[in-house]
């Protein structure tokens, strides 16, 4: 049995005059210590999937098990890095991390908790800015705090919901490299949600493509055959990279085209097979 098991996960949101089926039966597995990415278009239900695994919302059907235990409510063993950072603005960067350290290690002596907090702040290279409030930090720095807080939960599984999507391209690349380094040091089990195919290939061991909603499902996982530790440079030239990228893009594009006629605005004109 896999470390994280998601089986037949369904979720609809009630709207006026009916329900929008967002997830139409999601199956996925993660092994311990694995870095898995879920890639899909914006609005396909990726955040819903994260919220379900985090236990912040309840599924309509299906099952989630982490390390054998069914997921019913939120908990720090499924640490989360939110898309919109969700830092508490009245606390300093350090205090945001300390809140998680203190919550997860209530029995540890205060000095030890302080040391853990300092270590995490140093891990994400924030020591000089540790006492600043979130609004005094750049987007990239805020997301570092959020990553440190996620790690502070000492999670069995770290959920990352499009963590870098709000950042400019340069900052995003820098943070991806740092995440690569941090993951190399910690080997936390990570599930990364992203809409960036290259980000997924750079970071993940396996990638699940997600069909666009409604009724989104995951395609078969694609193995990224790139060795670790990885370097961004020259990686895009490697055959393994090209192979993974091609498989992903093909799946995602096929999913979009499948949907296009029902939307009424085909985005691509392609010859239709004659109806027999």
């Amino acid at each position: 049995m896999a470390y994280l098991e998601v089986r037949g996960l369904r979720k609809s949101y009630r709207v006026r005059g009916g329900a929008t089926p967002v997830l139409g039966g999601i199956d996925l597995t993660l092994d311990e210590g694995e870095f898995v990415a879920v890639v899909g278009y914006s609005g396909s239900g990726k955040t819903t999937l994260v919220s379900l695994i985090a236990g912040l919302i309840a599924p309509d059907a299906g099952e989630i098990r982490l390390d054998g235990a069914p997921v019913r409510e939120p908990g720090p063993e499924r640490g989360i890095v939110f898309q919109q950072y969700s830092l508490l603005p009245w606390l300093s960067a350090r205090a945001n991390v300390a809140l998680a350290v203190d919550a997860v290690n209530p029995t540890l002596p205060a000095a030890e908790r302080r040391r853990l907090t300092d270590e995490l702040i140093a891990l994400v290279n924030l020591t000089p800015a540790a006492w600043k409030r979130p609004r005094e930090l750049s987007g990239g720095m805020r997301q570092r705090v959020a990553v440190a807080r996620g790690l502070a939960m000492q999670p069995k599984l770290l959920l990352m919901d499009e963590p870098f999507s709000a950042l400019d391209a340069l900052t995003r690349a820098a943070l991806q490299d740092e995440l690569l380094r941090i993951w190399g040091e910690r080997r936390t089990t990570v599930m990364l949600i992203t809409n960036d195919v290259d980000e997924a290939i750079l970071l993940a061991d396996r990638i699940y493509p997600m069909t666009p909603g409604p009724d989104a499902v995951l395609g078969p996982a694609i193995e990224v055959g790139l060795p670790r530790p990885r370097q961004r440079r020259h990686m895009s030239l490697e055959p393994a990279y090209q192979k993974a990228r091609q498989a992903l893009v093909e799946f995602l594009r096929a999913g979009r085209n499948r949907l296009a006629p029902t939307a009424g605005h085909p985005r691509e004109t392609r010859p239709r097979a004659p109806i027999p």
Partner: protein, 256 residues
């Protein structure tokens, strides 16, 4: 001339002078009983220039009278916050409490201080506690309502952080709910202080206790109309300063 001085000094002066001219015109034409600005100043000089003299219960310098009123307002305001803040949090936190007590709040909110005061006198038998009771009862609503709104508008993102960390109820309240609500609470406090100051005059007039409002009413009865204007100006000036001070506190909290 710098634009700054122009906007911050000259223009407000234009407003003040216009009102003075209007006042002088009104007193010179159809309201001969209304003292002119000059006469008001002449008859009130002593109360302003020697603000702490005392020649009797009601014949005291403006500084003294204002001090009495401020102490009374301070007590009533403190009581309003002490009652209003927890009620506001309860209204915001508990659906059941909200359903039970929100109608009462909405019902009591528009009741005038003039209506509460006699009831306070009936309950407490003395004018001082009755005045404080009235101030508190009238001034607490903005605190109640702003606090409740503040609690209910806490971002779900912050609450989710607490849920993921499995913070206890008290820790969530202390570390997330209260800090997130604080800016709303202090806006409520500022509005409550304004109301408390508004109510003080009415309650002093009705109870005849020494203070700016009591003085105003007594001078009306003794036909010293210039002192009514003096009182009105004092009330306005103090109200303005109080609001600015609370505004500073509010801005500090809002830095979040």
């Amino acid at each position: 001339m710098r634009i700054d001085t122009y906007q911050k000094v000259i223009l407000p002066l234009v407003g003040a002078v216009s009102v003075l001219v209007l006042w002088a015109l009104v007193s010179a034409t159809f309201a001969p009983d209304l003292p002119s600005p000059l006469r008001t100043w002449q008859e009130s000089r002593r109360y302003v220039l020697d603000p702490f003299f005392k020649e009797g219960e009601m014949n005291q310098g403006m500084g003294r009278l204002a001090f009495y009123s401020l102490v009374r307002v301070g007590k009533g305001f403190a009581l309003a916050l002490a009652i209003g803040t927890p009620i506001g949090f309860l209204l915001g936190l508990s659906r059941r409490f909200h359903q039970s007590f929100d109608p009462i709040v909405q019902f009591m909110r528009p009741i005038s201080p003039l209506a509460w005061l006699p009831l306070g006198l009936v309950i407490f038998q003395k004018s001082e506690p009755a005045a404080i009771f009235t101030i508190a009862l009238c001034a607490m609503w903005p605190t109640v309502i702003n606090t409740a709104v503040g609690v209910r508008s806490i971002s779900q993102d912050y609450l989710n952080v607490g849920r993921v960390l499995k913070l206890s109820r008290t820790t969530t309240l202390r570390r997330i709910v209260i800090p997130a609500t604080l800016p709303y609470v202090f806006t409520g406090y500022r509005l409550s202080l304004g109301l408390a100051w508004l109510v003080i005059v009415a309650s002093e007039m009705l109870t005849g206790t020494p203070g700016v409002g009591g003085f105003l009413w007594q001078e009306y009865n003794s036909l010293v109309y210039s002192h009514i204007i003096l009182s009105v100006l004092t009330i306005g000036a103090i109200g303005f300063v109080l609001d600015r001070l609370m505004g500073l506190v509010e801005a500090r909290v809002r830095i979040n």
